[in-house]
């Protein structure tokens, strides 16, 4: 960053490169975000940042969110085969869309990362459109909350988020790798096997095992 206008601002630092650490929020960053959290009671620091944008157009919160998520969205898009320059542009668009759509964010229904994932996913799908710039900003119902659910369903939604995170953290790096490949790239299992240099049977059983463990975690408390 050439000039950082946000020194001293709440930010999710210490997360870069912390890919192995689930949810990625270390103690220091929690501390540095405490000021935001105090103003905005919420489940996770990133949720609080989006709420701060929604409630008072907080540019420092936006900067912190950008620093954390833009490189991850870019990494995710590159994984999908989007050329780096376009991935950068789409990551920009995604975070700008977060600013513009912040009012639609409902932390009871989705975590910040799930909501941003949905925005990035939809932008990528729209990338082929001729009027792509308009696509980045038009209201997209798929980013908006689903129709009202029962309070039980809403409570379960948030629990599910936590459990998916916990369960993913329990998986071995290899299992996460195959899960990532099969989920995002929609690779046939044979291609995943080739990419990872593993026998096809191993890949299949790892995907099955990884999904089964996620599910067991989810259903264990149902």
């Amino acid at each position: 960053m050439a000039s950082d206008p946000n020194d001293g601002a709440p930010r999710i630092d210490g997360m870069h490169g912390a890919t192995a650490q689930f949810a990625g929020i270390g103690p220091e960053s929690v501390e540095s975000l405490r000021s935001v959290s105090r103003r905005v009671p919420t489940g996770s620091p990133a949720d609080g940042l989006i709420l701060a944008i929604a409630q008072r157009r907080d540019r420092e919160a936006f900067a912190a969110l950008f620093e954390h998520f833009a490189p991850r969205v870019k990494g995710y898009l590159i994984r999908l085969g989007v050329p780096a320059a376009q991935a950068e542009e789409l990551a920009q668009d995604a975070l700008v869309a977060v600013w513009r759509k912040a009012e639609l964010f409902d932390p009871a229904r989705a975590s910040a990362s799930t909501w941003i994932f949905r925005i990035a996913r939809n932008l990528r799908l729209d990338a082929g459109r001729r009027d792509r710039t308009a696509a980045a900003f038009e209201p997209d119902l798929s980013d908006a909350p689903d129709p009202p659910e029962t309070p039980e369903a809403t409570a379960l939604t948030r629990q599910r988020e936590e459990r998916v995170r916990r369960a993913l953290a329990e998986l071995t790096p290899d299992q996460v790798k195959v899960l990532r490949l099969s989920f995002f790239q929609d690779c046939p299992h044979s291609e995943i096997a080739e990419t990872l240099g593993l026998p096809l049977g191993t890949v299949k059983s790892r995907i099955r095992l990884a999904l089964a463990r996620l599910r067991a975690e989810l259903e264990g408390e149902a």
Binding site: M1, A20, V73, Q92, R165, L168
Partner: protein, 213 residues
Amino acid sequence: MTPRHHPSQDLIASCAAGTLRPGAALVVRAHIARCPTCRAEAGFFESLGGALLETETPAPMSAGALDRALAAIDRPAPAPPAPARVRSGRPALPHGLDGVTMGKRRWIAPGVTVTPVTTRHNSRELVYLLRIGAGMVLPRHTHAGCEFTCVLEGSFSDSAGRYDPGDFIATDESIEHSPVVARDGPCVCLAATDSPLVMRDLVGRIFQPLAGI
């Protein structure tokens, strides 16, 4: 009533991941909008997407990226395009089917019309609304390519069962059926196919009996 015929877990996962072709995703979303079970399933896969994004290896943004973003948020958002118009007589599309444009309704046979649906995503699939009159029986037919259908209004039955609003049906060359629309009203389905032959197939299957085959 909640739907009884659901998309496969793979379809829901690829829809949530954004890797399913757009027309097929539209049909899956039409089902999900009416099905709490599959909505929860899709939610699970979206949470997985979020968690995987959170743990994604960051690709550093170029120098000045944040400054450009801060400048971008100061600019007014482009005006959203007018919402898709649904002309009178067309069934309202369920929640989640944003950004689709309805084409001109085409008459196929007595009591049968087809309305092409254009998704806002580039895709070579054919997506359409099929409206079949009350009590009609379609001749026995198979499907070219892989076709997904969601009932939006009314109901029909075939030898495999009865399909009510929200029910999802996946068909391919291996499925041969002769759907019968319920007598109490017309049936409207949203369908997507990856086969360019579908219109010929569709017209053929409806005109078969008229041609005496």
